[in-house]
């Protein structure tokens, strides 16, 4: 029972992390239908930026966090402006390959600067966050990641529901041409969605770094795990991304704990294939009816 609970908690926290990572992904997809293969690398970039600011430059944690978020926000703008904008209207494979190229480039850059070792942040979370519940122990980082996730979710919920930019983004996602004719600045929306996505990526990268330490290879493999998560939840559903993340996280840890550790890495992809065959638009995705 203890083992079960521990696995449950591990699974939930990993799942929450996936959900957080998937959030940025869904954001980009929702507004510009770009499948972003550089997702993990964006996460790693954010995490490393925070590392540089907090441990190398020795800035206070809050300031470092703020600067990281600002930095990755502008990085998103730059990426959209210089790499994605020339490709508006081009074939899907070119856009996909461009993000793959970006991923490789960023990965090479980070390996060059930081090497392939694991880096870790200094302890800065208050000890009070950790709690024991019977024999089950919940480390503080998990609680922190959970809280961070909740805050972000609430923020994005409000952003999309009430702010004008959020409504613009939804309108562009729904029908680009109609949005444009109603005076929505579509290109600005694209830029903004990449910027916000990069910011969310950085945030989830930092949380990941706090839990596991940051390693370029590991973070970029988590970037690929986002695919099963978003497919399960539905590519354009934020709620689906969260639920999908948690389901995939639980599935992974339970397979790892009870069946075999080697299977753990593949299980999300097996689920992915099954979901694609049975219900391709996922749990909450918008089903575009198109039968050929």
């Amino acid at each position: 029972m203890e083992f079960f609970l521990q696995i449950l908690i591990n699974g939930l926290s990993i799942g929450f992390l996936y959900a957080l990572a998937a959030l940025g992904f869904v954001m980009i997809f929702k507004s510009s239908s770009v499948l972003n293969f550089a997702h993990g690398e964006l996460m790693a970039l954010g995490a490393f930026l925070f590392l540089v600011l907090s441990t190398w430059a020795r800035l206070p944690i809050v300031l470092a966090l703020l600067l990281t978020l600002i930095g990755s926000f502008s990085l998103g703008f730059v990426i959209e402006r210089f790499f994605l904008r020339p490709l508006i209207g081009e074939a899907l494979i070119e856009v996909i390959m461009l993000t793959v190229g970006l991923a490789i480039m960023f990965k090479g850059l980070m390996l060059f600067i930081f090497g392939g070792d694991i880096h870790s942040y200094p302890e800065f979370l208050p000890k009070a966050l950790a709690f024991h519940w019977g024999a089950v122990e919940v480390p503080g980082v998990y609680v922190a990641s959970f809280l961070a996730g909740l805050i972000f979710l609430a923020l994005f919920g409000f952003f999309f529901k009430y702010s004008s930019q959020g409504i613009y983004m939804r309108s562009v996602a729904d029908n680009q041409r109609a949005a444009m004719s109603l005076g929505v600045h579509v290109r600005r929306v694209f830029a903004l969605s990449w910027a916000i996505a990069a910011l969310v990526c950085a945030m989830s990268g930092i949380v990941l770094g706090i839990i596991n330490g940051i390693n370029v290879h590991e973070v970029s493999s988590i970037g690929l795990k986002v695919f099963p998560v978003v497919i399960l939840g539905g590519l354009d559903s934020i709620g689906g991304a969260i639920l999908g993340g948690i389901i995939i996280g639980l599935l992974e840890t339970f397979t790892g704990g009870y069946i075999s550790t080697a299977l753990r890495e593949v299980v999300p992809y097996i689920v992915l294939i099954i979901i694609l065959l049975i219900k391709p638009y996922g749990l909450f995705g918008l089903a575009e009816i198109e039968r050929v």
Partner: protein, 369 residues
């Protein structure tokens, strides 16, 4: 037409030697379908084949020959992938694993079943075609990015099988393959294997070029351009999509089989997602929907790989002698990614288009504009 006609003697056959017309005046479907517009092109091909088989293997340095062999293997796989992505419009991120399936099938056939080389290679292709078809089944319902993600999942599942099915694949240690012999000739050297690879390459290219001109190829292109219209015209889409997956995987499997024999021992390591991406990079840089493009792309990527590999080694030696402990190896990935991005942004039709522009500017000189 811009052709020169010579009358041999009174009233006999008119021998026409065709040069390039200064314009595109196709009048019949046959003209449009021809592979060579002029006799000059046919002559070039003959000359090229002569150089390829008569001169290159005998004059090249062993290392250069090795690089050329690898280019040949990659080009075969890339042509197959181009049939799938460039002509049928179905994106596959699993071709690295399909290549691996071919390599493993050839290795297992050679070691466990004592299959001779001549049978093992096509069989490896066939096995891979079946596997590729199995992973192509999601394409019944899925299109575009959903299919891309499905093939990505296929890549990871196959990688898992390579490592975990130890009884068959030898797990992480892999399999070593005995040297192949063909008609009593030992294929252990680079030069003899060069002939095997490039005979396969020539045959497969010839098949691909002709496949596109048949009803199958036209159906592929119709599906790529507009699948609904294709369905409306009575093309059974699912059948052709699966066929495309099968043919494309056959190419990948055959190339994989050659790779296994050439490398002598194989491990699961090279057949990862990176290889799939490399294949797609080859056809994007070479030119989607162009058979010569796939070959150009293979030449470009493999050469880039080798140059970057040597450059990093060189720089590392310099760094070591000065006393700098930086590793420059990741710079290779950086340049690689940059090359992909630059091509997509500035020349999305790839090297095939560059080649066409260069050629026509020569042809139209001095009035090229």
């Amino acid at each position: 037409m811009g052709s020169l006609a010579w009358q041999r003697s009174k009233g006999f056959r008119v021998q026409r030697l065709q040069f390039h017309p200064c314009g595109n005046f196709n009048e019949t479907y046959e003209q449009e379908l021809t592979i060579f517009e002029t006799d000059f092109g046919r002559l070039c091909l003959l000359g090229g084949l002569l150089v390829l088989f008569g001169i290159i293997p005998f004059l090249s340095h062993a290392y250069i020959l090795y690089v050329i062999n690898i280019i040949g293997i990659y080009a075969i796989a890339a042509i197959g992938l181009n049939l799938l992505i460039g002509y049928t419009g179905q994106i596959s991120l699993g071709h690295g694993a399909f290549f691996g399936v071919g390599a493993y099938s050839a290795a297992i056939l050679a070691t466990k079943a004592n299959c001779p080389f001549l049978i093992a290679i096509p069989l490896a292709g066939l096995i891979t075609a079946v596997v590729g078809m199995a992973f192509g089944i999601p394409s019944v319902r899925l299109k575009h990015l959903y299919l891309t993600i499905a093939t990505l999942a296929g890549q990871f599942i196959l990688e898992y099988v390579f490592v975990q099915w130890g009884g068959l694949t030898g797990g992480a240690e892999g399999i070593s393959i005995p040297t192949a012999t063909l008609f009593g000739i030992d294929l252990g050297t680079d030069r003899t294997f060069f002939f095997v690879i490039f005979i396969c390459f020539t045959v497969m290219t010839w098949m691909a070029v002709n496949l596109i001109r048949t009803r199958y190829g036209r159906a592929f292109i119709a599906i790529r351009d507009n699948d609904r219209a294709a369905e409306g015209m009575g093309i059974p889409i699912f059948f052709y999509k699966l066929l495309s997956f099968a043919i494309s995987s056959f190419y990948a499997g055959l190339a994989g089989g050659l790779f296994a024999y050439y490398m002598i021992s194989i491990t699961p390591e090279p057949f990862n997602l990176w290889l799939s991406i490399e294949f797609i990079a080859i056809i994007i840089i070479g030119g989607l929907g162009s058979i010569p493009g796939s070959v150009f792309g293979a030449i470009f990527i493999i050469t880039l790989n080798e140059i970057l590999g040597h450059a990093t080694e060189f720089l590392m030696n310099i760094g070591a002698s000065i006393g700098l402990g930086i590793t420059i190896a990741p710079l290779r990935e950086f340049v690689y990614g940059l090359a992909i991005i630059l091509f997509i942004i500035f020349e999305p039709k790839g090297l095939a288009e560059v080649w066409r522009i260069v050629r026509s500017s020569f042809r139209l000189w001095p009035f090229s504009y």
